[in-house]
């Protein structure tokens, strides 16, 4: 067992015991980058050859998910129901492959389950469900996860518990009106224990958001809703871990991190290509994708 003491969200000492010997949480950027490569390979393996899978959004959020699970989140697979754990909700539920990969690496369930993703009877559904160990909310129908995060954050305030709630939304998802209902509620109730990370990959399922259904200035919108806003390169691990620490300093209002990402990141032919939002790979494409990920500079 490894005892880790890291920087806390709330200025308290954060202690985490880990049973998974080969894993640790770390601020070591090189190591985190290595972990994100493992996550990307896992995602690719889950999609496989000839079966449709949400490659684009899983890859664009892979670095964010890695930083959350392997650096920031106060979580422990041994105590998945610990009431004081941090919560993470993947509101853009179709990208859940990235989360399944992280949860499997942590030992929430066996890595062998990954192969069964989206097959009949599997604990790993096409979109997140709480019946999967480590999944905190049912999402997939877009626009609801941020509101659920508001509920969890309200509950935390009510219980004077200092856990934090992290939500990843997609920029395409921000077209859902409910997001802005949640944005208003989070500010009204001063939920500084809520962080919304926008996986800003600029593509919706059918093309470029700017052309298909322009959402305008996302940062200005959140600002006008009273949120503290941050903007980063969502593939720069240093920037990700830094900003995840910075939001801890925010008091009295919720935070949004607009993470500029590339849809399909790490897979050459899928990068910035909306056709790989949910696509099947050929044998050749699969091999190419694997090579591409292996060659990502760590």
């Amino acid at each position: 067992m490894i005892k880790m003491i890291g920087k806390s969200n709330f200025g308290h000492e954060r202690v985490c015991f880990m049973e998974v010997e080969h894993l640790k949480k770390s601020r070591d950027i090189k190591w985190l980058k290595k972990m994100s490569k493992i996550i990307r390979v896992d995602i690719l393996e889950m999609i496989g050859v000839g079966k449709k899978g949400h490659l684009g959004g899983s890859m664009s959020s892979a670095d964010l998910v890695t930083a959350l699970y392997f650096y920031k989140l106060n979580h422990n697979p041994k105590y998945p129901n610990d009431p004081y754990r941090d919560r993470f909700i993947f509101s853009k539920g179709h990208s859940v492959l990235a989360q399944y990969a992280a949860l499997a690496e942590w030992g929430y369930f066996s890595k062998s389950e990954l192969k069964k993703t989206k097959t009949l009877g599997s604990i790993l559904q096409g979109h997140p469900e709480i019946r999967t160990p480590g999944i905190e909310a049912n999402t997939g129908s877009l626009g609801q996860g941020l509101s659920m995060g508001v509920g969890m954050a309200l509950g935390g305030k009510l219980d004077k518990s200092n856990y934090k709630v992290y939500v990843i939304t997609g920029d395409g998802e921000l077209a859902e009106g409910q997001i802005w209902e949640a944005a208003n509620a989070a500010n009204f109730y001063k939920l500084d224990n809520l962080v919304n990370v926008v996986d800003n990959n600029q593509l919706q399922a059918t093309g470029q958001i700017k052309k298909r259904y322009d959402l305008g200035d996302i940062r200005a919108k959140f600002l006008s809703f009273g949120w503290k806003t941050f903007e980063i390169n969502g593939h720069n691990m240093q920037e990700i871990v830094d900003v995840l620490d910075s939001v801890d300093e925010v008091k009295g209002s919720p935070s949004v991190i607009i993470a500029h990402t590339v849809k399909g990141k790490g897979v050459s032919f899928a990068e910035n290509n909306y056709r790989f939002h949910n696509a099947a790979l050929t044998k050749e494409q699969f091999k190419q994708a694997k090579d591409d990920i292996t060659n990502i500079e760590a």
Partner: protein, 324 residues
């Protein structure tokens, strides 16, 4: 056990009481005992009567503004961290507007969220069709894992509040804006998933819910005079439906009638017919005939306009006993 209403006494005996008033008061009582209870309302707390909660335990009352979709998902989040959220608005707005939020966020993960549909049926008479729920039971009943309860009076409403707190999982409760006659007593048993026999009889069985139970009792008086023996069952839990009880009460009678202040499609009538689908028994439905409501000066006017009346029930019963 059951308030004894003998022939010709129905009208003069009844006291009317507000269900929403009973709900609001009971909720505060329950919340004082159980710190898990939190209450959310979408700018209608003075109609749903959750205003009592706001007055007495403000830290566990959340005004969510007129944003029912967000309200339901926030309730899901609260349930996920161990709270027992009560979600409130008019029944149109807690079932229709956040349908998918209930479906994905609450029902699929079987979360402990209690959804209250206030001003149900035609009871918000003046506001018209937009505010009158004729299909809320059908919508909620169709969702897997959902429980649907229609209390018959103020006393039963209080029991429902107590029962659903101890009953894990999503529940939808529809309550009237109109004060309804008291038909039960404090010690009348209420159990989720069971229905209660109010009056026994042998010619016709009438399954009713909500305010229609009283209309049925009025009809029963006249039918008794005309020599027709009527059994009256209060189906306070529409889902899960006690199918065995339905079969038992429908056996040996000349016909069955269902009565609800709801569309004849998908509500209590639909549910009863589903349960009796393999039984040899004639069934007539009294309900709103697949149309929307409209404005009127009183709730009573609407009940008459849409034939949710003792007269309609009598006509259906007399028609059924004619068959051999």
């Amino acid at each position: 056990m059951i308030l004894l209403i003998s022939k010709h006494e129905v009208k003069k005996l009844v006291r009317k009481k507000s269900l929403r008033e009973a709900y609001g008061r009971e909720l505060v009582k329950a919340a004082k005992k159980d710190s898990r209870i939190v209450v959310l309302d979408a700018d209608l707390c003075e109609s749903t009567m959750t205003c009592y909660m706001e007055q007495e335990i403000p830290q566990r009352f959340f005004e969510m503004g007129i944003s029912e979709q967000n309200m339901v998902s926030v309730a899901a989040g609260l349930a996920l961290v161990g709270k027992v959220p009560f979600v409130n608005s008019f029944s149109v707005f807690t079932t229709g507007q956040p349908y998918n939020q209930i479906r994905q966020g609450v029902a699929l993960p079987k979360l402990n969220v209690k959804i209250f549909g206030s001003s149900c049926g035609l009871s918000d008479a003046g506001d018209g069709a937009t505010h009158q729920s004729v299909e809320d039971i059908a919508i909620m009943r169709a969702i897997p894992n959902m429980t649907v309860i229609v209390p018959v009076d103020a006393i039963e409403t209080k029991k429902v509040v107590r029962a659903i707190i101890e009953y894990p999982g999503p529940v939808y409760v529809r309550i009237s804006r109109t004060p309804l006659p008291i038909l039960t007593e404090e010690d009348t048993p209420f159990q989720i998933g069971k229905m209660s026999l109010i009056k026994d009889g042998s010619d016709i069985t009438i399954f009713a819910c909500g305010l229609m139970v009283y209309q049925v009792l009025r009809a029963r008086e006249i039918l008794t005079d005309r020599g027709i023996s009527v059994r009256v069952v209060n189906v306070n839990t529409v889902k899960p439906l006690d199918r065995e009880a339905i079969k038992k009460y429908s056996k040996g009678v000349k016909g069955v009638i269902t009565a609800e202040e709801h569309s004849i499609i998908g509500g209590l009538g639909g549910a009863i017919i589903e349960a009796l689908s393999n039984q040899m028994v004639r069934v007539e439905r009294v309900g709103i005939e697949d149309v929307f409501g409209q404005s009127a000066q009183t709730h009573k006017e609407l009940l008459e306009y849409y034939s949710l009346t003792p007269e309609n029930i009598i006509e259906k019963a007399e028609g059924l006993v004619k068959y051999k």
